[in-house]
Symmetry: C2
Subunit: 333 residues, 2 copies
């Protein structure tokens, strides 16, 4: 079976303590013995069991990441950047996909802890904060990403979603739009973006568009479905603010199937600036998230927290940027 430290020790004619020292380059070992041990390790293709190692209290250089939805390119790209930075820092990433299910969240957090990860990164998605509170209370290293978490006791890096919603909407208003609907999912970030949207309307003395449903999933299909409902209900509508690119793409399809031209008949603005934004026709005007920066920052924060126990927490809030493309245009009167 798998070789253990005993196999190595006996084959190298030393004690397991010696092997362990060679492994961790701790203690004093003569050059000769070290080489002999290393050779045996090589020969047996020995890999110390993390189970056993972790059991003794050493860190595992593994970080868990909980994401709500692999299929959303935003999270895929975020994950990718987190992984990359982790790799640079010598940490491995264990990814768990929760599909926005609170019980899966809890389940996977337990799993990761029981697998002795050094820390857990929680990406957006979760609604209940109780899981986070629990981790914090246990002094388990957690970092939040893509979700503001106004609290002094946990590290986080997030986007200013409110500002994003505000800017996106303001841009549409500035283009002359007055009837602006919104496409959102009932999750924290989207609600923030909607707050921004409402504030923008208010600041310009406009009324909120009063036909509204939350989509159930952040998919193209749902975007199309709900946008179609909006368009069908008869209420005039010249622009749609979609809370992510997937939904925006759905909205484009909806418009098209109603023979509306984007952007001439209707403007559509997205959010995230994922790969999708440049795929659709017309390409999406969208609020870009600094995905790469977010990924790197959150991993840095996480590793920082793991390394030096008692450090003060930081809450990093990044700003979105408007990327103008073809899906929005001035309202033609």
């Amino acid at each position: 079976m798998k070789p253990t430290i005993y196999d190595v020790a006996s084959k190298a004619n030393v004690s397991i303590a010696t092997v362990s020292k060679v492994l961790n380059s701790s203690g004093r070992i003569s050059d000769e013995t070290r080489k002999r041990v290393l050779k045996v390790i090589e020969q047996l293709n020995y890999q110390p069991s993390m189970m056993a190692t972790a059991l003794t209290g050493k860190s595992t250089f593994t970080i868990g990441l909980l994401i709500p939805d692999m299929a959303n390119p935003f999270f895929a790209e975020l994950t990718r950047n987190i992984e990359d930075r982790g790799h640079e820092l010598g940490y491995n990433l264990l990814i768990c996909s929760t599909d926005y299910h609170p019980d899966k969240e809890q389940n996977y957090i337990e799993l990761l802890k029981r697998k002795s990860v050094d820390g857990i990164i929680l990406a957006s998605g979760f609604e209940k904060t109780s899981e986070v509170d629990k981790l914090v209370k246990e002094k388990f290293p957690v970092t939040i990403v893509a979700r503001d978490f106004p609290s002094t006791y946990v590290n986080s890096v997030s986007l200013d979603d409110f500002q994003g919603g505000y800017e996106a909407t303001s841009y549409l208003i500035q283009l002359g739009h007055r009837q602006i609907a919104v496409l959102a999912r009932n999750v924290w970030s989207n609600r923030e973006r909607m707050r921004g949207y409402e504030k923008a309307l208010e600041d310009h003395g406009l009324e909120k568009y009063d036909v509204f449903t939350f989509v159930e999933k952040s998919t193209v299909e749902w975007g199309k479905k709900v946008a179609t409902e909006y368009l069908r209900c008869g209420k005039p509508l010249t622009a749609i603010f979609a809370c992510n690119d997937l939904l925006a793409s759905g909205a484009i399809q909806a418009a098209r199937s109603r023979d509306l031209h984007v952007p001439n008949d209707i403007s559509i603005i997205g959010f995230d600036n994922t790969v999708i934004a440049t795929l659709v026709d017309p390409q999406l005007t969208t609020m870009a998230q600094p995905i790469r920066a977010m990924g790197r920052e959150v991993m840095d924060l996480m590793v920082g927290e793991i390394k030096k126990e008692e450090q003060s927490k930081r809450r990093i809030v990044l700003s979105p940027t408007l990327v103008k493309r073809g899906s929005t245009a001035e309202l033609n009167k």
Copy 2:
């Protein structure tokens, strides 16, 4: 710190053995004691350490998944389906993204093993088979997905990539196309699809399009870049067979930037039938992979292998289906 079995035992006035028995519902325990122990477990929010449990040789109900690229919707969707099926069967999924790096592959395989997963699912991507061989030799449960692995000693579920390439190309030929270029990445599945492509040409007495470069990454950008080169080189070209939807989308963009109309001036066919296929304009004609079935089958195979040790291995090969959409049309003479 984290409560251990000892904390539970002493607080419940029993031995740790008793607690363990309650935990695993093994052995004989009076109802009274069981309840008392369970209550304490609840109170302390005790979760047995998987490290310690695994160390004693019990299975962890965790399966590792290695995927090459989260950002490719095909893998994202596949992962999603694997996870879902695992969840149904009571297994957790630990995902690792290798970014097509052989050393990350090896690294993560080691990691997963050291984290005591019960088995590992390897998705496509990997070029070297040595890692697989190693796992097999160690009798470590492995299953391959999205990659045919002609071997009698490992479970796999894959697509008939050759047939896919053959059918896609045949369809183009049937539409009247004679000059067909191919967009592919130098990975196993793509090479198989190309074999199919070549065979189809041959069967119809056509010559292979002899301008060819592999793309370096399966991204829209690379698809666009290489397709642009094809279009610029002057060799007549009426259709492109792209080995995945990402590349096909890039090809559409390339065509558009050269003012070629898709499909009137040039037909483009993709592969995978991911969400992207319906996003782009025109929507992609593409060879659909039964992603959902693949995900479920591979998880079933994996769990089967984990449960009963010495079972014979199965190699499941699924068929692709042609999905006709707007990106292909009859060649207009």
